[in-house]
């Protein structure tokens, strides 16, 4: 009996630690001016890369050769070569870049510039600026519709999601959402656009064809005051069934049924949880905890936090790719 128990335990232990496909996560540490590199087999930081000042938005290029990181206080985006894991190039991003998004082909990058109310359009191959779009006060969240036709930008003080036609680069619609919209994310089939409002405490679900808010997701956590619930990062699974919302100083990630828009569960993570990213196989979800200086690893199938990894100071953004 004892022997069997032990055996089962060993098998479980083995299964739990079986190396998945090898992925690698890059985490921007806003205060340390570094990027932590995490190996998802070992769940450990394998390298810390020095970058420019105030690194926030971070994303792999489509070909996986570079990781782009917006260093706001240096008014540029730096390119980390994923082979050498060193900064090798910069992009002309415009002042104070924060979040950005690239088109499907990986040719065009759209950058939110908080300081001058613009979105900058960059040719990634030529590393050249192609133009600007004037938007609302303090642009931040960025998303592209899956068909590539519309770029979404959210402006934090104007409280809107701006729909920008990617052909003409003109704003075609503006949708008012709750206070301080931080992040925008489309469902994979393009049927819904989700926008988080940090101060408003809600997620607005927008019909991208009609440009209207169809429903608002709210959060109610017993024992927590309303003001502490501040949604920021959104990750929707590829099948469009489940979504994860980082709730900032509520120190929790909300798991939402993406069809019914109801919260299924709250997962306790670290302090001031900001952004999140799936591993490409969607087995794991990694979230950055700003104040506790760590990254929590969530088992997506089990909806459980399985691990915490110490990174640099004030971890902000995260991107995950193949090793």
């Amino acid at each position: 009996m004892w022997h069997r128990c032990l055996l089962t335990g060993t098998v479980l232990w083995l299964v739990g630690n079986l190396p998945a496909a090898a992925f690698i996560a890059y985490v921007s540490n806003e205060k340390s001016n570094t990027v932590s590199v995490i190996d998802t087999d070992k769940w450990a930081v394998i390298k810390t890369i020095k970058v420019g000042q105030r690194p926030r938005g971070i994303e792999f290029t489509r070909d996986g050769k570079f990781v782009m990181v917006a260093v706001g206080d240096d008014d540029t985006i730096q390119m980390i070569d994923t082979g050498t894991q060193e900064v090798t190039d910069t992009l002309p991003s415009g002042p104070d870049p924060e979040l950005f998004i690239q088109d499907k082909a990986g040719k065009i990058l759209y950058v939110a510039n908080e300081n001058d109310n613009t979105v900058t359009v960059i040719d990634l191959e030529k590393r050249a600026r192609m133009g600007d779009v004037q938007v609302g006060v303090e642009p931040e969240g960025m998303a592209l519709s899956p068909d590539g036709r519309f770029l979404i930008n959210t402006s934090e003080t104007t409280n809107m999601a701006h729909f920008i036609d990617t052909e003409t680069r003109q704003i075609v619609a503006n949708v008012l959402v709750d206070s301080r919209p931080r992040f925008a994310e489309f469902k994979g089939d393009g049927s819904e656009l989700w926008v988080s409002s940090e101060i408003g405490g809600t997620i607005s679900v927008i019909d991208p064809a009609k440009h209207v808010v169809t429903t608002k997701i709210t959060f109610d956590i017993p024992g927590l005051r309303k003001e502490a619930i501040q949604p920021v990062g959104i990750s929707i699974a590829a099948d469009g069934k489940t979504a994860f919302i980082a709730l900032g100083p509520a120190n929790r990630v909300a798991v939402v049924d993406a069809a019914s828009h109801q919260v299924i569960k709250y997962l306790l993570v670290g302090q001031r949880v900001w952004h999140l990213a799936f591993t490409p196989d969607e087995k794991w979800l990694l979230v950055t905890n700003g104040i506790s200086n760590d990254v929590s690893v969530i088992d997506v199938a089990a909806l459980k936090v399985i691990k915490t990894i110490q990174v640099g100071e004030l971890p902000w953004g995260i991107t995950i790719g193949k090793q």
């Binding site: 609302g136 006060v137 303090e138 104007t158 409280n159 440009h211 003001e227």
Partner: protein, 395 residues
Amino acid sequence: MIRLFVGVVVGLSALSISAVAADPIEIGIGYLRRAGVKPTLSLVEQPAADDGVAGARLAIEDNNTTGKFLNQHFTLEELRLKEGDDAATAAMTLADRNIAFIIADLPGDALLKAADAVRDRGMVLFNAGAIDDRLREEDCRANVIHVAPTRSMLADALAQYLVWKQWKRWLMVVGSHQEDKLYAEALRRAASRFGAKIVQERVFEDTGGARRTDSGVTLLQRQMPVFTQQAPAYDILVAADESEVFAAYLPYRTWDPRPLAGSAGLVPKSWDAAQDQWGAVQMQNRFLKLNSRHMTALDMQAWTAARMIGEAASRVNSADRRTLLDFLKGADFSVAAFKGQRLTLRPWNLQLRQPILLVDGRMVVSVSPQEGFLHQVSELDTLGVDQPETRCKLH
């Protein structure tokens, strides 16, 4: 059934904002203040001539950037009262000029006169400058929204931190002017609420004299240690000197080596140029770009007032005063002001709830309410006079 369907479609499309070419909705905001500024002890703290109104100007720009997408346009009209000018007449003048709301930076009595004069015209004032508790208590008005924090909110914010820091024994020095006494009263209340003890109180008499002299330092270096000697054991000296007579002279000159708080040292404020949390850097940069100087607490209070109007206008999509006011006073209203959480109005006296910064002139040392000071409605209501104690009856 078909009619019902049409109703739903119309209802939904009203939420969407399409680019419209019609004449924009115009919302005029007045700004009422006194001419001239009071001299401060510190030359670097001398307020700029546009202190306050510069914040309102930035908010008008912000509102108009948003207004571009909503077909709304905001304007600011400033009126300065010279010595002897009547606040009531000035408010009436603004009311005659198609102004919807007035942001006021006026002393308490002048504010009440202005508010009462335009009450029948349906005008609402935003108090951006006066911190007197009585304006939210026995002298409260249904047509005055208070954006400036109260003395008791400032005192409570400071007291919470000092108690958290275990600096519970205070030596209090109070100025001889009326507002100094009011601040001292708020500090006494805060001490007893949060468990600090005032071990002794001293009064610093204002005997007049120039604020700047060529040989000032030598004299002060002798005066201040003597003034603070033979005090009972204390942790921190708390100074109540709103009239700027002595507090700024105390740091590094006390008989016992002790830190300072209140009107010098660690100061509670609604805003500071050093505030950089919660996206505030964007705000500080925008302000600096427009006004070529740092942003003060008064600038922030005026910015917040004008933004509250802009926020309401964008939500109700109307310039109608009544509609805007109902929204501002309603449960759905909140405004984001770079303080890490939404700011709302206390419905019983129309005071804006807000976190208070504790600053030392270079850095933000802490932000109150402090962790652990709990409240059944909002932790922000641990600052200032709360609903059960209020003497305000809004009519």
